[in-house]
Amino acid sequence: MDYNVNICETDIDYENLADGEPAQDFSFNPINEPETSTQNCPEILEMEVFKECTDVQSNRSSSTSDESLDREEISHLQRHGWSAATVKVLASMPSRTAELNKSRRVRYQASSHESPHCSRPVQGASVLADVEEINTEGLNFCAAENNMDQLVSSLQGLSVSEGTRKLRAMPLSLADKIEIRKVAFSLKTESSFIGRNIPCYTHLSMYISTTWRHCLFSCLPVFSSFKLWHSALKTLSGRYGTGVLSYFLFLRTLLFLNLLLFVITGLFLIFPQAIYPPRSSKADFSGIELLTGTGYFSDSLMFYGYYSNGTLHGDQYRMPAAYFFTIGFTLFIICIILVYRLSKSFGKNFQVLKSNENLAVKVFSCWDFKVSKKISVRLQSEKISTQLKEQLSEMIKGEDKKTCMQQLRRLIVHLLAWTACLISIFLGTIGVHYLSENKFNFNFKTILQAHNLPEDTELLVLSAVVSGINLLLPGFFNLCVWAEKYESPGTRVYVSVFRNLLLKVSVIGVLCYHWLKSIPANGLKCWESFVGQELYRLLVMDFIVTVVYTLLGEFLWRVFSQTILQKKRKPVFDIARNVLELIYGQTLTWIGVLFAPLLPAVQLIKLIVLFYMKERSLILNCQASRKPWRATQMTTLFICILWFPSFLGTVVTIIYTVWIIKPSENCGPFRNLTTMFEGGQMSTRHLEDAHPILKWLSWVYDCLVDNPVFLFLASGVFLMVIYFQAQVVDGQRKIVSRLEKQIENEGKDKKFLIAKLQDLCK
């Protein structure tokens, strides 16, 4: 391989260095004595590079004509106009070839021991001409051999399972991994610990620890591969991409949460009470009860009123204690699970609200490999192309300067849209409030009697109105967002999510106010059961309305948009709206657990049916979106919403109920007490009397949790920790920017040295 670099080709930086700063001249030992200098040429290079020189400048000026010719050969896209030879040398440097060699067949290189030695051959005058050869072949082999030896020796220090796990995480081919494992662990198997001189008791402990670790690592894949609906999700992601998949994954998460809730309440509340029913059954069953939850259901396991306030199975199982502690325990478990998922989500993606304008990140990570249908792949390409073109045109043209009039117009449109949305939310909330208080004084009974419908249908009106509001207003919000024409798709999504959230929070807020303030004062026989029934009705109505909307509405909308609006594409699945509906249903379930322990089962059935329905409707009526959807950021946002307004609101409501409101006197496990909390306290005292060991637990509780000083101390420490972490993050950011600068400088040094090397050759 000939070293055919023209002496005159130099790098721009080098040229600038010499041209712009004539005072900083560099010199080399004259190259007219190659024989004597070849022995220690590399070392001379390193030492002499910083001496002064005037020859190089004069050499260069005389050969500018050659330079221009060579520059034309350089691709117009090369950033710094590097010479082709420099690029060749760079490409064969260990930092670039080492990575390739790691994943080439180590066997192939290890077997060729006749390859040139690692040490540089420094004999002969043509040593520098061979530098490139050495770089590309010798160093490759050296690197490969060194790599393999290093790998094997590093693995020998570890135990078999740890070493295997480390090997698994390396980017080598499977055949190489098997080979390396054989070499590295062949010695291990010879000296099994049975043969060694170890006393018997450590045998046992080692045996226990190895089997425990083996069990753990074989169980973990079982848990992670528990895939419900795996093939259905795969088809969906193949057609619609990761965005729509995240909705279905969210649905599956909620399903598991509800299952957990149901199992816990089932084990501790429903099952014991089912075995020992307090009294014999009651009214007959007519179909309307499935909708209203009254009649047959009102005095059943479904609602609070059925549960006894005494002990079951003789004196062994106290129902009030069980009720109180079960509800508390389930809420606690859900809290932990949600916090864990939230922190994991945040850890993956800490830039939740920042929109990602970074082109490099977009280009490298936007391709979704899961998409497999040809049409969807084409849509994905179109989506990426549109995104890139939009951003690039902005960069090429520069931002559009809007005139004053246009800005004013946009502001007015925004204001109008926001006012319209807020007014509609307000009206909806007021409507629900008056309806619940029955301030309209509508006499439903006469209407119902006229149509021969049972009286209880009156109760359905409230839930029907709430579901209707939840159905129509989001459509209205979508219209507003479409009229406002937001520039960035991210802002559009956030605005529409916020408006939907506001609507649902206000509706649930008003309903909670109604349930907790006015109903207990109403003088109903069993107000908790009534609240439970209201929640049941809301949930069921919501389900029916969603079913009808999915089956008919989306189908009709598709027909409408294809025939009348003449759009060639089918409508797009509205992820934000559907996820918020799921969160709304889940909030109702959580609030309802206290009043109707069987509600999670209802939600479970609802979610399962919803999954299959939405999947069918998606395949029939929708197609993949052309707009980008940042799946991870959105999932983090949805888990945030599930945690903050939804779960925390539920906890606040339940704590208020338990602490302040007087339970009804005739039904439920807490009858004849001032508050439900008192029931809990009584139960703890009973438990302490029965098991004196628990006394110290309550003493700890009194000292620590109830004590304000301790709480202040704890929050002080907490704040200090946060402050320190913030400072650490700040410092690390500074270090990162300094390191980047350093890498840039080293890159410049590298180019400089290579150019000097090339100059020395000639």
């Binding site: 930092s95 670039r96 499977l174 990602n356 490099a360 280009v363 990570s365 249908k373 991870t632 890159g747």
Partner: protein, 189 residues
């Protein structure tokens, strides 16, 4: 080592389970799908190779614009023709599986995007990459000004040592800022 007949031996199965990120069911499914691609006479061979044109008929890869690159990257054939043995196929699935680490995924993504196999992503590689992403239709393709602007932006954002190319560490640094990469770099049978 290697697979014989149409049955995986128990020790091979456990070895594959330990050295890849795949579960037992995934390995068995992969074996089934792989043997479907083999010719009748090859089914009994140890270390049979499936040529690239058959691998890219798999429905998961059929429409993927990177299918040839994927075959080349995971192939251990000496003729560099992109043919895969069963172990190469498992490597492929393992790198694209749910539990593979970010490091493995970014390493293989880098090699897939490195169209000329020179260890870095230079301008030509980036241009080919963008063309694969946007598709080959005329209105989706980027014009040459747009392409130049895009490539210079990418290099500006990701090339830390300013050598005009993106090497593996710089690529991994860019990928670490994208939370969607791990979930989109997946292929499941």
């Amino acid at each position: 080592m290697g697979t014989t007949a149409s049955q995986l031996s128990k020790e091979s199965l456990s070895e594959y389970q330990e050295l890849t990120f795949l579960t037992k069911q995934e390995i068995l499914l992969a074996h089934k799908r792989f043997t479907e691609l083999l010719e009748k006479h090859e089914k009994d061979q140890i270390d049979a190779r499936v040529p690239m044109n058959k691998i890219i008929t798999l429905p998961e890869l059929k429409s993927n614009p990177f299918k040839e690159r994927i075959c080349h990257v995971f192939s251990t054939s000496e003729q560099k023709d992109g043919s895969l043995t069963f172990e190469d196929f498992l490597d492929l699935l393992s790198a694209f599986s749910d539990s593979a680490t970010l490091e493995i995924k970014s390493h293989y993504a880098f090699r897939i995007f490195d169209f000329d196999d020179d260890g870095t992503l230079d301008c030509a590689d980036l241009e080919k990459l963008v063309n694969c992403l946007t598709g080959e239709t005329n209105d989706a393709k980027l014009s040459s000004t747009e392409m130049k602007q895009l490539i210079s932006n990418i290099l500006e954002e990701s090339d830390i040592d300013k050598d005009g190319t993106v090497n593996l560490s710089e690529f991994q640094h860019v990928i670490s800022r994208s939370p969607d990469f791990v979930s989109s770099f997946k292929i499941v049978l």
